[in-house]
């Protein structure tokens, strides 16, 4: 099957708009993706036709709403190869999913002084700060994998870093700043050998290529809906059933309970245990529609398209004088997120000139400041691609960078 990017683009109304008098060139999908009409329609249909609260109504609207909400959960479970939909916990986003584990795994991990949690230098702040705080609360020690000059995870000290004191390893599957795709196989094997659990931050991987939680072998994964054609306000924690069953509620309240008396409460089984209060129902249904859309196109096809775009972009960027790419310089083991600097020009100014030409990129430290520090820069410019990105858009980026050089160099 050939991937027809023009047909895909026709599903995204926003791609028709202009910015500052130029056709929109949206190169910020690692930040948030655009949404196809199919997702917007599914959310509107829920609001217009069968809005009712979930899991607590006997009436028809509530029943239909509950069915759609649980259908979305089942679709997402199938999408990531989860053995059961009950292992899919809806959260607000990846950050909440990771914090859920950080705040409810005390009994599971039995953390105390002398114990260790391992992360990496290429984490998004959301997979770093919760573990810093957990270590502060428990007296455990935070350790981390370094990053090589090529922007790869440095696993050379794996056996020393992950040892009998390690209780949890939490690393990113695909870096949101370097674009590096990590193969977690060795880390998972070593962690399990020493009895540690593994969480993978899949915020940038699940949207872009096939992810199967059983193949990955991880214990938890976190990802967010708005980076995969869904709306904001909905994310996912996947966890192995027996681990979720051993964790207490995070944000307790309605839906999380089994029996409540004034003296005490027993709690529902997962995933309800972790979904306190009325959840983002429309958003969950929207994410289910996004998964349908991605599945119909095929994640392998989407990945192949992005690999072609990335190959093209790496070359186009390398051809612009003064551009230095951070992270892997070839498409092997990297995704369609490319950060770079333009010599002598601050990323803020790069982004401003590009925006004037309708080219939307992200600038700053990308919630991964240690990576900027590692590469000795205060900030980076990042272009990130998705299923709707075209080579024409990469050309527009390259032309824009020539304009940046005209103004500043």
């Amino acid at each position: 099957m050939t991937f027809d990017v023009a047909r895909v683009r026709a599903d995204f109304p926003i791609l028709d708009r202009e910015v500052n008098g130029h056709p929109l060139v949206y190169l910020d999908s690692a930040n948030t993706s655009q949404k196809p009409r199919q997702v917007l329609d599914a959310m509107r249909a829920h609001q217009e036709r069968y809005n009712g609260n979930v899991s607590r109504s006997v009436h028809t609207l509530g029943t239909e709403s509950t069915t759609a909400y649980e259908d979305a959960r089942a679709k997402i479970a199938a999408f990531i190869g989860a053995p059961s939909p009950d292992e899919v916990v809806f959260t607000k986003n990846s950050t909440e999913a990771i914090n859920l584990v950080a705040y409810t795994s005390a009994d599971l991990l039995q953390l105390g002084p002398g114990d260790e949690i391992v992360v990496s230098e290429m984490e998004h702040h959301s997979n770093l700060v919760p573990w810093q705080l957990l270590c502060q609360r428990t007296g455990a020690t935070l350790r981390w994998f370094g990053v090589t000059d090529e922007g790869r995870l440095d696993e050379s000290a794996l056996d020393e870093l992950v040892n009998e004191r390690t209780k949890l390893v939490s690393v990113v599957h695909m870096s949101n700043i370097l674009g590096t795709i990590n193969d977690p196989a060795r880390i998972v094997a070593r962690a399990h050998q020493v009895g540690a659990l593994v969480l993978l931050d899949c915020s940038q991987s699940v949207p872009h290529f096939p992810v199967d939680v059983v193949e990955l072998g991880a214990d938890f994964i976190a990802f967010t809906g708005h980076k995969m054609l869904g709306p904001t306000g909905i994310g996912v924690l996947w966890g192995r059933a027996e681990l979720l069953a051993a964790m207490p509620p995070f944000l307790a309240g309605g839906s999380t309970i089994e029996t409540v008396t004034m003296a005490g409460t027993t709690f529902a089984a997962p995933p309800a245990r972790f979904e306190g209060g009325t959840p983002p129902i429309t958003e969950a249904i929207g994410l289910g529609a996004a998964v349908d859309y991605l599945t119909a196109l095929g994640m392998e096809n989407i990945h192949r398209h992005e690999q072609e775009i990335t190959t093209y972009a790496l070359k186009a960027l390398a051809d612009v004088p003064g551009v230095r790419i951070f992270g892997p310089g070839t498409p092997e083991g990297r995704g369609g997120t490319v950060s770079f600097e333009v010599a002598g020009v601050h990323p803020h100014d790069v982004g401003q000139i590009l925006d004037d030409l309708g080219v939307e990129v992200r600038v700053g430290h990308h919630c991964a400041r240690p990576v900027c520090t590692r590469f000795g820069v205060p900030a980076m410019t990042r272009a990130s691609f998705y299923l709707y990105t075209t080579t024409d858009e990469i050309d527009a980026l390259a032309r824009g960078l020539e304009q940046v050089r005209k103004v500043f160099v």
Partner: protein, 152 residues
Amino acid sequence: MIDQLYQDIILDHYKHPHGKGLRAPYGGEAHHVNPTCGDEVTIRVAVDGGTLTDISYDGMGCSISQASASVLHELLQGRTVEEAAPVQEAFVALMQSRGQIEPDEEVLGDGVAFAGVARYPARVKCALLPWMAFKDAAARAGVGASPEVKSS
């Protein structure tokens, strides 16, 4: 429109900053960062008998924040605390004007070039970064350079 943002005066100050580099002695120092974009600036203020005898600074960041520090140095260095206050107020007011204020060159000098920045909400905080750091540094040097700081 982008030309109004990147006026030649701003680009000149960015490429050839005035008075850059941290100097001693100084009475107060402040380090401010813009956490969303990574801009950083450190400002030192030396005061002698009510006069801002030296305003030294260092930092890294975009053209707007770095040029703003250079302009601040040029405008306030050697002025009395009383003279500096209205300049600072005028610059902050200009930045918060959303482009609705016609700046007074008598007061703001090269600072008038920042009028275009006020139309870019995302960049206003870049322009204000050195001015906010200056305010703190001046307070630490024992002089409120604006009434707001004096009263707090």
